[in-house]
Each structure stands twice: as structure tokens, then as C-alpha cells.
Amino acid sequence: MFYREAGDFKTSYSDDAQTFPIKFDRLRYYVVLAIAFGVIPLLINDYWEKSILVPFLIFTIAALGLNILTGYCGLVSLGTGGFMAVGAYSSYKLMTSFPDLNMFFVVILSGFITAAVGAAFGLPSLRIKGFYLAVATLAAQFFLVWLFNKVPWFYNYSATGQISAPERTVFGYAVTGPAAPPQATYLFCLVFVFLLAWLARNLTRGRIGRQWMAIRDMDIAAEIIGVNPLKAKLTAFAVSSFFIGIAGSLFFAVYLGAAEPTEAFGITQSFVVLFMIIIGGLGSIFGSFVGAAFMIGMPVLLKNVLTGTLGWPTALATHVELTVVGALIIIFLIMEPHGLAQLWRFAKEKLRLWPFPY
């Protein structure tokens, strides 16, 4: 009835190639944007900002980045935590070395630095494939975290070995540091999510995204039809690390405020982001959003129910949480190996035919 192409006439090629060819989808997109930019900042408070919205936005960026690498280019990486650490430490160094630099550019620059590091660690991917590559990226994870622990230059020789974000403003509003209002941090992260999701969507629709997908589906065949594997794999690593670097930079500067590499950017972080894209759906932009929402929202929900409503001790609630996360991952893989995004695709197919079954 309301969700179909019929009656929505395209009169130009650019109309025909638009991201959302169905009118309902376009409307939904604008409504979601309006709510995200216009309504939520009016309602947001400290609790929602700190425990749900900001981590959701930040991990969406990380999931988008990993999805580009794993979902679109088929290269499994377990080094996400390490690359987030690169983003965090480069933004720290930039913030302290150039106090007058606008925070926006600090984040973007840390993204570029991480992209360079990521491309360097992506070099072995030309020789190593599959699981071997996944384990090889662990080298990046452990080496980078060790590096930030052991080289004092990175944490400006502070006595604790921690880094903490000084206050920086955008348009006169503080976005980092303890005094930052929830609206400012939320909007700051949201702008990045919006821009990066737009970028990811259009990259994957274009020439370079198709190269990635060709490499993913079969790299030898892709090479024969003229895709340069060196270029495709390294750009995938670079773009993915750019996203992850920005996520790491925001995670440290906006969300945590102070960080220590082993805790904040450990191997667990790599796994969490990997779960997000598996549960959300490999090779899907929408999936990165859903996966991040799920992995951020579910522990909060469980914790509230178990310790809040039922009054269980926190330690036990953590164990239950682990069990539930593990079980859910297995259940998702068994029921729908292509993730929540696939369910959404099914729903759309059904909607198009509704009210007829076939």
C-alpha cells in the first residue's frame, strides 16, 4: 500500500540511482534525521547520553569501519581495539600539541593518522588470507597497545601512564572534558555518524566499493577481471581504519575523558565491534547501526533488569550478561547468519507485496 515503487516515477538518471528509491524509505530517512538532530537534543539527559546514546553513536562508527573491511572486503580483522587506540592517542597528542586547533579537525586528523597505520598493518593481507589474516591482525592489536603503554612520549610522560582529554570547544560549546553538556557531546558525535554513514554508503555503492566486493567474493577472479588487489585491499584497510580511528578518538576524548590502553582498547573491544557487525549483518550499513544499538543496549537493559528490578548482586549480573551475550550470538548465527539487516530486508520484501502473500 504505502511501501512500493508504483506511482513514484523517475524522470532522470540521478533520480533512478538514488540511495532510497522508494518514497516511504526517503521519508523515513528524513524523519529519522529530524528526530535525531531536532528532538533528541531537547530530551537528552546525562544518563542517556553517557550510558546509551553517545556509546551507541561512537560504536556505530567503529562498526561501519569494520564492516567496510570485513563485510565489504572480506578481510577479518581482530585489531579494532588497537586501531581505536591509535585514534585516541593521536587525538590526545594533537589536542595537547595544538591547543587552538578546532576539535572537529583534531578528530578528522586522528582518523587520517589511523588510516596510515591501518594501511601499514594491512600490507600482509596481500599474502595472508582468512583465519591466518585474522590472527595476523592480532599482532597489530597487541603491539599497538604495548607501544602506547611503554613509550612515554605518547602519554606526555604523565606519572600514571593515563591520558586525559583537556576541554575543547566547538562554536563556543565544550564537547570534551567533564563540563561538556550532554547536548553538545551528542550532537558532536551525531554529526560524525551522519557524515561517515553517508560516506560509507556512497563509497560502497561506487566503483571502489564494487572492487571491495569483488575481492570479497573471490579475490583471484577479481584480479583476473582487472581489480588491483593491492589497491583494493589497502584502500579497504585505510578507509576502515579512518572510521575506526575517528571512533577511537571520540571514544577517548568525548566519552571516556581519560583512558589507559590496556583497559579501554583491549582485545575485548575488538570482539565487541566484531559481534556488532555479525549480529547487525555483514556488508550492510543499516546492519552496523542495528548491531551497535543491540550490543550497547542489551547489556544496559540486562543490568537494569537484573540488578535494578530483581536486585541481584552486580558480579552475578555480569556473569549472566556474558552468558546471555554468548548464547544470543550463537542463536543469531543459527537462526539468521546474515544478521538483523537480513530480517529487515525480508520485512521490506513482505511490505512491498502486502496485503498479498505472494
Binding site: 556474558l322 552468558t323 554468548g326 550463537i330 548465527l333
Partner: protein
């Protein structure tokens, strides 16, 4: 002999011992990878779970005591007995076999023919699940594991080697933990019995057939499902052995599950499909990281053991992508 050489020898010996410990974990990986093509991330957590259960049985802990206490507002902890080690080990073996059945039933059977990456993810999920269940069952505090394996420095070796250095030098004999020697003996026994089992028993032959070619094995009447149960059960027992060794060495705690991560570079060096590869890879990694830490560690800040194994494996793979003993990777369009 000069003292520096003696120290280097000591480091190499300790590296070999550490390497054996890594191999014990890597062995379980190889078994499952060969039989079902699954890269079982949960191997480390299986070791942790087995060790936890062993301690729990020994001390007569009530499983899920914490959960029971919370739900029924009771205060139970122990049955009030202590079990002899051999009985506890037997019970744990039974538990691991039951676990293998469950894994085949609930996970493997439903994920047949999925891509390897999906199966890998499923084992990560399994690892989380088991960790949570293990903590709920037996509590997450650090436990002492003692099944009667002697530990501590070897007096005999110290006395024997102290004479190697010239009198007045700064050398007091080599230090080696007896526990590590025992681990080496156990590892040798384990590999020998696994080899004998797979060479001379009917089940063992079936295992090798499945490892060679799933479809051919199916077509001559080997039940894949029972083979999977058997492999996972064997991997569970290997995990128990690794859990006992690591648990006696450093206590049963969460970090035990991270040894799985340490076993990965071992596998990459040795090749995923080779049992001797797992042993040799373990030895190379063990010696390599100890020597690197000994010579380079002080220069660049120490704790290089965290990453050296991975970087070594990475560099190695660039030149030989299938590992030392792995099957050659052939790709066709």
C-alpha cells in the same frame, strides 16, 4: 663456560618449557580444525572451564551456588566433602564429554555447511557463554588447583649446573620449575597416545578419514556426527590437561582463557592441520619470545612477550602462508 652463555641456555630451557605449555593448548585447536574445519576459539575457555570444574568437584562446591542463593534467599556453598583428585578428574572428563554432546547437538548440527567465518564466530559466542556459565557455576574468584603434581625449582638441576661457571662468578645454577618438566612429560604422553589412538584404533582411523575428506568419509559410512562428538570430547580432555597444567602453575582464573590467544601464533607457525606442527611451533614461539625478552626487553621497555609471538608469526607467514607443516594452499577460480 661463560656466565652469559649459561644464562642464555637457561632462558632457552625455560622457553622450551613454556613452549610445551603453549603446544598443549594448540593441540586441542588442531584436533578440532582437522576433524571439522572449525577454528575453535573456545579452546582456551574450555581449559578454564575444565580446570574450574575440577577444583569445584575437589572442594565439593555446589554448582550454581550463587544463583541458588540469590533466587531462594538461601546460603549454601559446599556439600561439605572433599573429593580425591582422580575421582574429580574422572568427573570432569565426563563433564567435558557431555559438553561435547551438547555442542554437537545445539551448535554444530545446525551450522553445517556455513562459512568458516560464521562457525568461528559461533565458537567465540560459545567462549563467552562458557565463561559466563563457568563463573555462575563455580564463582569467579581465583582458585588454587592442586592435583599432586610437584612444583617449585628443581634442586637437582641447580646443584648440577652450579659447577659449570667458574668459581666466584655471579651464577647460582639454573632454575627450572619441576611443574614444567612434568608438563613436558604429560605433553609427550598425550601426543604419543593420540598418535597411537589415531593409527591403531577403528575410531582413530575414522577420525583421520574425516580429517582427510568429509564427503568421502560420509560415503563409506562414517557418521560425521559421532566423529564430531568424539573430536570435541578429545579436545575437551586435552583442554582439561592444559587446564590442569596452567591452573597448577598460575592458579585458576580468568586469564587462563587468554592462553587461547597465545596458542594462535603457535598454530600459525606450525600450520593449522599438523599435530607435530603444533609442538614445533610451540617450542619456536616459547624459545623465541623468551630470548627476545632476555636480550631486547630491557632495551625497549620489557613485556615484549605480549606481542612478540604475533609479530614473529606475522613475519613468518608473509614468507610461508601455510605455516611450517600446513597443507599447501591451492586456489582455483
Amino acid at each position: 663456560m661463560p656466565v652469559s652463555l649459561l644464562y642464555a641456555l637457561e632462558v632457552i630451557l625455560n622457553g622450551l618449557m613454556a613452549g610445551i605449555m603453549y603446544s598443549l593448548v594448540a593441540l586441542g585447536f588442531v584436533l578440532i580444525f582437522k576433524a571439522s574445519g572449525i577454528f575453535n576459539y573456545a579452546q582456551g575457555v574450555m581449559a578454564l572451564f575444565a580446570a574450574m570444574s575440577l577444583v569445584g568437584f575437589q572442594n565439593g562446591q555446589i554448582p550454581f551456588a550463587e544463583v541458588i542463593n540469590v533466587i531462594f534467599n538461601s546460603d549454601v556453598h559446599n556439600f561439605g566433602w572433599t573429593m580425591p583428585s582422580f575421582m574429580a578428574i574422572a568427573l570432569t572428563v565426563l563433564l567435558m564429554i557431555g559438553f561435547a554432546f551438547l555442542v554437537e547437538r545445539v551448535i554444530l548440527r545446525r551450522l553445517v555447511n556455513q562459512e568458516p567465518i560464521i562457525l568461528f564466530m559461533a565458537t567465540i559466542g560459545l567462549a563467552y557463554f562458557m565463561e559466563g556459565v563457568g563463573d555462575m557455576m563455580w564463582g569467579s574468584d581465583i582458585k588454587n588447583l592442586d592435583v599432586g603434581i610437584p612444583s617449585g625449582g628443581s634442586r637437582w638441576l641447580e646443584d648440577a649446573t652450579i659447577g659449570f661457571a667458574a668459581a666466584g662468578e655471579d651464577f647460582y645454577g639454573m632454575y627450572i620449575d619441576v611443574l614444567d618438566v612434568w608438563a613436558a612429560v604429560v605433553a609427550v604422553l598425550l601426543v604419543a597416545s593420540l598418535t597411537l589412538f589415531s593409527q591403531y584404533t577403528k575410531t582413530g582411523r575414522a577420525l583421520r578419514a574425516v580429517a582427510d575428506d568429509h564427503q568421502a568419509a560420509l560415503s563409506v559410512g562414517i557418521s560425521l556426527r559421532s566423529i564430531w562428538v568424539i573430536t570435541w570430547a578429545i579436545a575437551g580432555i586435552v583442554a582439561l590437561v592444559a587446564g590442569i597444567m596452567w591452573g597448577s602453575k598460575s592458579g585458576v582464573q580468568f586469564s587462563l582463557s587468554l592462553i587461547a590467544l597465545k596458542a594462535l601464533p603457535v598454530l600459525m607457525l606450525g600450520g593449522f592441520t599438523s599435530i607435530p606442527g603444533a609442538i614445533v611451533g610451540g617450542l619456536i614461539i616459547g624459545v623465541g619470545e623468551k630470548l627476545f625478552e632476555f636480550y631486547m626487553g630491557p632495551l625497549i621497555g620489557g613485556a615484549t612477550e605480549n606481542w612478540f609471538a604475533y609479530v614473529l608469526a606475522l613475519l613468518f607467514l608473509v614468507f610461508r602462508p601455510q605455516g611450517l607443516f600446513g597443507d599447501k594452499i591451492i586456489e582455483r577460480v
